[in-house]
């Protein structure tokens, strides 16, 4: 696999699984993809209904989603660069796939928490998106 392909796969895995902190009146730890989903709904609400509160909420969601999209991209980029220090191609592939598998495995653990889902209980990523 090419380096760019590995980087994109790792970035996607980070977007879907890496818990990042956020705050919209209340705080939590959620994947960036989940923040993106709420951002889309809030923007739709803002466009259809308007209002100062909706605008404020939208700004919070857009800002934090954008921030973590960038942060996860940088993490994926530096991780793939670090992977290049490994000498053999098989070791590089194994390291990349191992990292992605670890992230995907974490998705099944109750490490995500937001007051907006399950009353704030820790849940896995599937429950988060239900």
């Amino acid at each position: 696999m090419s380096t760019s392909m590995i980087r994109r796969m790792l970035w996607l895995a980070l977007l879907v699984t890496l818990p990042v902190p956020y705050w919209v009146f209340e705080g939590g730890r959620v994947p960036t993809l989940w923040l993106g989903e709420l951002t889309a709904f809030v923007l739709a609400m803002l466009l259809s209904e308007g209002g100062m509160v909706a605008g404020f909420v939208a700004v919070l969601f857009v800002g934090q989603t954008s921030l973590f999209v960038g942060v996860t991209w940088l993490v994926a980029r530096y991780a793939t660069r670090g992977r290049a220090r490994l000498r053999s191609a098989s070791a590089r592939s194994a390291a990349a796939l191992g990292a992605i598998a670890a992230l995907l495995g974490m998705a099944f653990l109750p490490v995500y928490r937001t007051p907006l889902v399950a009353g704030g209980d820790a849940v896995n990523v599937l429950r988060l998106f239900q």
């Binding site: 209340e26 209904e49 308007g50 209002g51 100062m52 509160v53 909420v57 399950a118």
Partner: protein
């Protein structure tokens, strides 16, 4: 599901009278707000006869009536799934469940498992004697639309957020109620003038009434009493606390929208209130609460050729004498002065939003029961061309081209004459006078 109990508070209805001026219909009225309090006397006075009980409903007299009175315990501030606060935090109990709970039955509480079974239950150790469900009335219709598949608006983004992330909807909707400057803004999915949601509000409001009637013991045993009620939460710029309206019997308005939503507003005004031009006396019971004013205005329909202009706002003007000098203060009580409505003076074409009707219930924040004062209402339309602008335009005057300014039309280009004007209507004042003083001007 339950809030803390509060003492009952009743208010004399505020009233209205209509008049027409400048094509706009106005209603303005006021009435002293009276409060009831619980009093404890130390020495019964046989001469102080208990006022005769006036029953306002059909029911059997209680078989344990005690002329010396008995204490009863109840809760007049109860929320169910119809309230924003409760439903967005997972409450599924409805008004009938609340009354079951008040009567001593167990009810299930959130969180619920995958089969909808509550993980907690709660029961009162001592059942109550009376209760009133007082759900937040502002958004009855919105919640019914959001919760009922198939209704127009059910698939709006706001409703999707309400169903999937209700806690997020809590912030969104609370922001509207606590920040509303004059009037609760209806969501766009409610359609024109919010009609869709106002119609949908009849469903939960009806269920609240049915639940109250179902739990009310009208037999001579008198084991449990219910009241139909609602909470009004909207507070201009968070200035107000929520208030509960408790009805004394089952004769309630078709919608819990306050006096402005009462179809009998005008009739109530004539029957019970002080109309425009009338004198208002201070309450005699020592209550210093400011009187309530109701003012309502409707847009002039105009003619097919020249339709009337939409309304911009209602103001109440207060006047009084202070240190021998006349003072005046103007309050915006409905509508929005910064709505963005405007007019192009070159064509007299109007633009921007405006209201077909405006209504408000208002209390003077600076009311002094010892101070004589007068109050009148003023209704402003959106800006339109001044009469002189119409004439100038009809004469083809263009100030940038002096050749178009004919003799006698020089004033068209005089900047001291306004090009536009907000047309207005106003009422006769209501005169307030403290007890022992002369009312009127």
């Amino acid at each position: 599901m339950l809030h803390t109990g509060t003492a009952a508070r009743a208010r004399a209805p505020a009233l209205a009278l209509t008049a027409r001026a400048l094509g706009m219909a106005l209603a303005l009225a006021m009435a002293p707000a009276a409060t009831r309090a619980i009093a404890i006397t130390t020495v019964p006075d046989p001469a102080a006869a208990v006022p005769p009980l006036v029953r306002t409903e059909k029911r059997a007299p209680c078989d344990h009536f005690d002329p010396l009175r008995r204490p009863y315990f109840g809760d007049l501030h109860v929320h169910t799934a119809f309230s924003l606060d409760a439903s967005t935090q997972g409450t599924r109990n409805r008004p009938s469940d609340a009354y079951r709970f008040a009567r001593g039955e167990a009810v299930g509480l959130q969180p619920f498992d995958g089969n909808g079974k509550p993980r907690r239950t709660l029961r009162l150790s001592r059942p109550l004697d009376f209760a009133a469900v007082t759900d937040r009335a502002e958004f009855f219709g919105e919640f019914d639309v959001c919760a009922t598949p198939g209704l127009p608006g059910h698939d709006s983004p706001t409703c999707m957020i309400y169903r999937r992330w209700p806690r997020l909807a809590f912030y969104r909707i609370n922001g509207i109620t606590s920040g509303a400057p004059k009037k609760i803004r209806r969501f766009d999915f409610c359609g024109e003038d919010g009609k869709r949601c106002l119609e949908a509000a009849r469903t939960p409001w009806g269920e609240i009434q049915d639940a109250a009637e179902g739990a009310y013991d009208r037999t001579a045993a008198c084991t449990f009493t219910t009241f139909v009620g609602y909470e009004w939460t909207g507070g201009p710029n968070t200035d107000n606390l929520p208030r509960n309206a408790i009805f004394r019997n089952d004769a309630v308005p078709p919608l819990p929208a306050g006096l402005c939503g009462d179809p009998d507003l005008v009739a109530q005004g004539y029957r019970l209130g002080v109309p425009m031009g009338g004198d208002l006396r201070a309450p005699t019971a020592g209550t210093a609460t400011a009187p309530s004013f109701v003012v309502r205005a409707e847009r002039d329909g105009g003619t097919p050729e020249r339709p009337g202009t939409a309304l911009q706002r209602i103001q109440i003007v207060k006047g009084w004498i202070e240190n021998g000098a006349a003072r005046e203060r103007v309050f915006d009580v409905a509508g929005d002065a910064r709505s963005g409505a405007g007019v192009d003076p070159t064509t007299c074409a109007t633009s921007g939003p405006g209201a077909e009707a405006l209504c408000a219930v208002w209390q003077d924040p600076d009311f002094d029961p010892a101070q004589r004062a007068f109050y009148y209402a003023r209704v402003l339309e959106n800006p339109t061309c001044r009469w002189s602008t119409w004439i100038c335009n009809a004469a083809g005057v263009r100030c940038e081209d002096p050749a178009t300014v004919a003799d006698g039309f020089e004033g068209c280009c005089d900047a001291s004459y306004p090009k536009t004007v907000p047309e207005r209507a106003w009422t006769s004042p209501i005169w307030y006078a403290p007890v022992g003083t002369k009312a009127g001007p």
